[in-house]
Symmetry: C2
Subunit: 584 residues, 2 copies
């Protein structure tokens, strides 16, 4: 029996650690920072006076500063980066978590901070103390650390990137044809979170072809347009470029593009296949366009700037999801805190053209509709989805999903029996799944509206999945507090969505995996190339057995379980064909 | 007889104060910050370690921090902003002046700083102490202030701008037709620097129609495409919008767009006349697009980002000159420290499209060629001119002028007897005038090359001027150390530029003005609409008599002297027609 506190702990672990989940629960996002209205961003609104009037703060230690030694400060800073920055931001301006700038923390005081860190809150703050994750000493130092101004973390520009850039196999030394028998289009790149690796698993034989060292907790895998190169990015901002043509696929180039990152993508426009890669960083807030063959960094662009609506300066607008347009030579870059979607034209990077679309704050993840023309992306803490027309380069719609904290991953495209083409997202904050009409020509009345709300297993969902050939919509709930829920997948039949209250089938994935130890979470369905199987990760603790469970899409029966000692903490899985073709 | 020190003082006054001159001498710009190679920007290159390795500085007072009281700090901060920031930057990263970050100042030490501030240097640092500008006490505080970290000055976003925005006469309450008999197209808007005003002076009668309160030391005047509205911007970032149709022209709207600024412009593309205004700030580093009728701020864009070549982050990339394209709905924005020229498409400001052209660091001022297609702009501390094709939206050329620290103002277009259409710039750092070919179709061999170098009166020139109907090129030298030089103007005959060493005529402007007191400087020739007269400011100290001297362009004889008790410290003059049509 799990207590509420345990659940929170699990949720927390997921929220800062799950490589596929960038955010904590909706509840956390809804919480108001004390004394700062309804918007985390408001917490750092400058109280401006002109320089002429010169009401600036004197730097240096202030009388109310707590005592902290340089060593304690460094320790706390490390801890903050590892455990807290994901939700609260490196500069502590708040995003998914509360703002923690000294104006706020000092109002709360040392004891409040210490106890909050120790016991957590029902709104999503984990119980770091009672969970045993942090010692009393660590919590004491952290509470003191939070009372003083956050240090400005170092920049990471071209000189720093170049120091980390390695071409392990130069393009001229790479094979000129595929040197292996792997069916690359049906290969799966699987994140092994805690070991900092990806496993390349055969989609037909379920064999692990190879395991490749990468950055820590690889967030996503992307495939070059040709299908040859696999790009992965770790939470530590390390990018690996893997050549799938080699006898044994291996890293041919690598680079670090910052201190913390989430996104990588490659150019997909006709004529630009494999030409560029792009990666987006959380810190420093920037993206970098790289040579698609070598990862040579070509152009770094800072995302620091104004929040789209309040037009106040934000010092840490993090780069969330990036996708590549199929209609223009453009990358589409979500900038989280400022709520801007950037169309980055890569056709002339020395004269870089960027269109900055005002969308909504807290942009996160998203995907294309079935035509790949429209990019639907969640502004998670605002409960909204923004729709970008990638052909015209403009905001088509901004709609509420009706649920709390939408988390689409890339979403799922269905052909609805009543409403025609729809795109689905589940939610972190509740059990709803929103179906949004995506066919402005065939079904204009339904376009960019929530046409139907389904109810899944419960809140804490991260991913929905379907396939053009499938009649099913799969919904996970790995962050739900109920262990039975996290162990299962809900499946809706697409052709029965015309019913008033569509019912779902429950797949007991953990049971099928035959794993009794721990509380493994089932996360992220991913189809094979043919669309007749769907793979789920059964993600257990690092020292326990994990698995991948493969389900027959037609019969919804268990087809296979992959267990292997190398399969440690599997999370995200990326089928080469579906990923490069944006099929989901 | 002036001493060298006096000259430096004058130069300094000009360099931080002259509204038409953004920079100090070339010598200053060439000086190397101690221990930092040949590039001021290198002074703040971050010594990066990853956040994971966490080698960040502990904030708070350090043992080596000098003692300074909060009151002293505020005083020094005010003084720094007023006297030092123009050259050294608000964040002290250096630009025209040296970098003054604590890593450098502490290496030099207190005594060095104190003496340097007191006595100045031949390289362009003024002798603040011996000139009497600063007291020993002020210098003492400043030297201590420079030893500690610069404070982060406050931001100035939309909430702050809106607080300063006033519509004094709403568009509906303004006249529907011109209510006065002023020949607007031949009106001159004249900056009265030290009183924070502009005088509107009739181009035919030389009468002062009115004097209007504005921001301090108005840097430029710009005219809306229709010719109705006059926009001026003070060094204090205050923008006034003046309606020239009113019986007595007056301010109808005003706003402050930051703490320090230099540039304002209005939309000139066909179909967009009078629709938008734009202003660029030095601090915060940003520009703002405003409603052309009311100055309502619509869109603020931060310029913080990467330096074009080193791709290191710069926290203070200041906005220098802005011009409006005649070929596209675009503003062309010079970003000084990062060396980028932005093409800001104003046709859809909610989906703002910006093309960022990599040009050269320390972009400053510039103007169009005679066809208005090409924008030539100086990268002053690099001795270069960048040429932007505003029709194609790309960098056409980047060339060395052959002189030190080009300062074109808007430059001057001449029809050269040998080389065809050329554009001229003089230099702050030496006596040369560079003529650059601007006719890639008619004279392809000469295009974007220095085809001829002239020698003027001496270094310290700020402005050259000509007119399509004129056979003359006028060159000032107000920052020259020689009082006789600053009192004069050199005139070249365009049709004699085919001679081997073209000679110039000297116009004794100050003598013609009949001013004996002080050391007035002659600055910035400006033609009337017809192009048959050129006006020069005779800029004297605030408590002494200044004047405007008008010269007959055909005969080079004195035509008129405007003296008026209201004409205090006149500097820049902007003829309405020539300014709105970009005729120069």
């Amino acid at each position: 029996m799990k207590t509420i506190r345990d659940m929170r702990s699990l949720r927390l672990l997921a929220s800062i650690a799950l490589p596929l989940a960038l955010a904590a629960t909706g509840a956390a996002a809804q919480e108001k920072p004390k004394g700062h209205g309804d918007d985390p961003a408001a917490a750092y609104s400058p109280s401006m006076t002109t320089l002429g009037e010169l009401n600036v703060e004197v730097p240096g230690r202030k009388p109310e500063d707590p005592v902290i030694t340089p060593e304690e400060f460094q320790d706390a800073n490390t801890l903050y980066f590892e455990r807290c920055a994901g939700c609260h931001g490196v500069l502590r301006k708040g995003a998914t978590g509360k703002a923690l700038t000294p104006d706020i923390t000092r109002e709360n005081g040392y004891e409040y901070l210490r106890d909050f860190i120790t016991y957590g809150s029902p709104a999503g703050m984990p119980n770091w103390g009672t969970s045993g994750d942090l010692s009393d000493e660590q919590i004491d130092v952290m509470a003191r650390y939070l009372l003083i101004e956050p240090p400005a973390p170092p920049e990471f520009g071209m000189p720093e990137m170049l120091k980390t850039w390695k071409v392990l196999v130069a393009p001229a030394d790479r094979p000129t044809e595929k040197m292996n028998d792997i069916d690359i289009d049906n290969l799966f790149s699987v994140t092994l979170r805690d070991t900092g690796q990806v496993a390349l698993i055969d989609g037909a034989t379920y064999e692990i072809h190879t395991v490749i060292d990468t950055g820590y907790a690889v967030h996503i895998s992307r495939i070059s347009a040709s299908g040859r190169y696999l790009y992965v990015i770790g939470r530590d901002a390390k990018v690996n470029m893997i050549d799938l043509w080699m006898e044994t696929p291996a890293t041919v180039a690598e680079i670090k593009i910052g201190a913390e990152a989430r996104s990588v993508e490659t150019s997909k426009m006709e004529g630009w296949e494999d030409k560029y890669a792009i990666a987006g960083a959380y810190w420093p807030p920037q993206y970098v366009i790289m040579d698609g063959d070598t990862l040579e960094p070509k152009k770094i662009v800072s995302t620091r700037g104004m929040i789209y609506d309040s037009q106040e300066y934000h010092p840490e607008p993090r780069v969330a999801a990036i996708v590549a347009s199929h209609f223009r030579p453009e990358f589409i870059v979500n900038v989280k805190e400022t709520g801007k979607i950037l169309l980055v034209d890569y056709s002339d990077i020395e004269n870089l053209k960027v269109t900055e679309i005002e969308a909504e704050r807290f942009l996160h993840d998203g995907g294309f509709d079935s035509t790949k023309r429209y990019f639907l992306t969640a502004a998670n803490a605002r409960g909204k989805v923004a729709v970008i027309d990638t052909k015209e380069g403009e905001l088509t719609a901004l709609l509420e999903t009706g649920g709390e904290t939408p988390h689409p991953g890339r979403g799922a495209n269905l052909n609805h029996p009543v409403y025609g083409p729809v795109w689905a997202t589940s939610h972190l904050g509740d059990e709803t799944i929103a179906l949004i009409g995506t066919d402005p020509e065939g079904h204009p009345d339904n376009a960019w509206k929530v046409v139907q709300q389904l109810e899944g297993l419960g809140g804490g969902s991260l991913f929905v999945k379907s396939h053009p050939t499938s009649n099913h919509l799969y919904v996970d709930a790995p962050l739900n507090p109920d262990a039975e829920v996290t162990a299962s997948i809900a499946v809706f039949k697409v052709d029965e969505l015309d019913k008033e209250e569509p019912e779902y089938t429950v797949l007991p994935i953990v049971e099928w995996a035959g794993i009794a130890e721990g509380q493994p979470r089932v996360v992220q369905g991913e189809f094979n190339q043919a669309g007749d199987e769907i793979w789920f990760s059964v993600w257990n603790a690092k020292d326990l057995v994990s698995a991948i469970v493969i389900v027959d899409d037609k019969t919804l029966e268990l087809k296979h379980v992959i267990k292997d000692e190398r399969l440690v903490t599997p999370t995200g899985k990326f089928n080469v064909f579906n990923t490069r073709q944006d099929v989901y």
